[in-house]
């Protein structure tokens, strides 16, 4: 770290959380240093493919129109897959609240915004410790180098080695995270529009569950980018370590080659492949405190991500928590300094925002999605009913009879099904 070594604020990680915090603080005139281990912001980033825009608009206002937005999602699709059959629910709209992108591109854009606002971004620095002295955080270290600050904002993402090093969290457990693996397939803009039934600039977000993950709780996703398609899987690690039967890359390949899907992209080329962890446990992964003397914890590092099965809100949550951390720091500074009691306004801001409200209200959904029995039975029920209704031979089966037969085959009692449905609706 060949830079001066005393700052107002040091931010670890130029992901969505760190860059949003850096942008907000630098705009206010704080002396901000952002440290990023990658050669470029975004190089260590992988996600599914869709970002909800509203929280980002609150941070960036009209400037968001300059972001690397690939397509605005106007088509949503949810499919249950059982073997080679699938049943889908599709929603189409002429309005949109989310866009598709590559996270490395978006992260680079967000980091550039922070730099333009006056933050100093230094790449290729892997912070290996947070410095703690006399009851407060005083800076960070990387090998022989140390840099000091009145406040450190931890935005290091899901693996949070630094928080573990500080003793603020325990080592991650498989039950707390999910592994995602993804292929980006180059296809061409026109082909995507034709095959997915989209107009220029319009995108699709598609979630699939069932045999597509070998019934391991989690799901598969398909997102349309400008001229490529992102496809991949998310598997709850707690289940996957016990239930996985083949290499995860081969499971992604089966998604790519699925008989009902492959014609959408079979002539495309794989541009990139990768994997990343994502928080799964929500509140159960949160450190006891998110504000300490001289330290604020944001984004994935704080477990501040919402995964409700049909969608993940990670990027917008991370950016927004970075923004709230910055606002809290500004208030704490006005009150006289970055003490834990002054900074605790961050936790209050979180509680008052959609972040906490969603996290506490909707996390029961996660339990239901990770209910292995239900996870297997639902796709079988949906596909079983549909195949009976639609595959007409000589006799035309009634819908209720089809449903009853499929329900029995999937191993659901009528009452247990009604009960689970009720619980799900209540959570939603």
């Amino acid at each position: 770290m060949d830079v001066k070594n005393k700052w107002d604020i040091i931010i670890v990680g130029a992901g969505p959380a760190g860059s949003a915090a850096g942008y907000t603080l630098a705009k206010k005139g704080f002396d901000v240093l952002i440290l990023e281990r990658g050669r470029q912001p975004g190089y260590k980033e992988l996600f599914g493919g869709r970002v909800y825009a509203e929280p980002l608009k609150k941070i960036y206002g009209n400037e968001l129109s300059g972001a690397p937005i690939h397509r605005w999602v106007k088509k949503e699709k949810l499919s249950f897959v059982d073997g080679n059959k699938l049943v889908s629910l599709e929603y189409q709209s002429d309005t949109s609240t989310s866009f598709t992108t590559y996270l490395p591109q978006l992260a680079k854009w967000m980091a550039d915004k922070a730099s333009e606002a006056g933050a100093l971004l230094v790449e290729e620095v892997t912070v290996d410790r947070i410095l703690y002295k006399d009851g407060k955080v005083v800076g960070v270290g990387s090998g022989p180098d140390e840099a000091y600050a009145d406040l450190v904002i931890d935005a290091e993402g899901v693996n949070r080695l630094l928080l573990e090093g500080l003793g603020l969290v325990e080592k991650l457990k498989p039950e707390q995270v999910a592994i995602g693996a993804k292929e980006t397939i180059k296809l061409g803009e026109d082909k995507i529009n034709e095959r997915f039934g989209l107009s220029k600039g319009e995108g699709m977000a598609w979630l699939l569950m069932g045999s597509i993950t070998d019934y391991i709780p989690g799901g598969a996703f398909v997102y349309t980018n400008k001229d490529s398609v992102s496809i991949g899987l998310v598997l709850h690690l707690g289940h996957a370590i016990k239930e996985v039967k083949e290499h995860i890359s081969q499971m992604v390949e089966k998604l790519r080659l699925h008989p009902q899907l492959r014609n959408l992209w079979i002539d495309g080329d794989i541009m990139e492949y990768g994997g990343h962890l994502t928080p799964e446990a929500g509140p159960a992964m949160m450190p006891k405190k998110l504000a300490l003397n001289g330290l604020l914890i944001t984004g994935d590092a704080g477990g501040l991500l919402l995964n409700v099965g049909y969608t993940i809100r990670g990027v917008d949550f991370a950016a927004y928590t970075g923004y709230l951390a910055a606002e809290a720091a500004i208030e704490a500074h006005e009150k006289g300094g970055f003490t834990e009691s002054n900074l605790s306004v961050y936790e209050k801001k979180l509680r008052d925002s959609f972040v906490y409200k969603d996290l506490t209200r909707l996390t029961g959904m996660q339990d239901l999605y990770s209910d292995a029995k239900m996870f297997k039975a639902l796709p079988k029920l949906a596909v079983g009913t549909a195949s009976r209704v639609f595959e007409i031979g000589l006799e035309t089966p009634g819908i209720w009879n089809s449903f009853t037969q499929a329900r029995k085959e999937a191993g659901f009692g009528l009452f247990s099904l009604a009960w689970k449905g009720y619980k799900l609706m209540k959570k939603m």
Partner: protein
């Protein structure tokens, strides 16, 4: 798409071939080390299936680890039941460089 095309023989690609699409600046020193004596006693070996980059493979009945293709996800660190893995990020700037993910 024509019938012809959709009927073409479609086989899964092997992980080593898929990884040809990615870009790394590989560090000379490994950032992850595995105590292979522990692997011998490991009952489930989940790393063989869940390391997305296929860094853990069986050679005979031995688990062999190579760090070069690692995408730094952290999965092996979390799932290893024997605590056999010493895990760091690669040296500053080194390692995977995602562009389209």
């Amino acid at each position: 798409m024509s019938q012809e095309q959709s009927k073409q023989d479609v086989k899964p690609m092997k992980i080593d071939d898929i990884l040809q699409r990615d870009v790394w600046d590989v560090d000379l020193e490994p950032h992850i080390t595995v105590d292979s004596s522990k692997c011998e006693k490991c009952p489930t070996k989940p790393c063989l299936y869940l390391c997305p980059a296929g860094c853990y493979v069986l050679a005979g009945n031995k688990v062999v680890f190579s760090y070069e293709g690692c995408v730094e996800c952290g999965t092996c660190r979390v799932i290893c039941p024997m605590n056999a893995i010493t895990w760091h990020y690669p040296k500053s700037g080194k390692g995977i460089m995602f562009r389209f993910t």
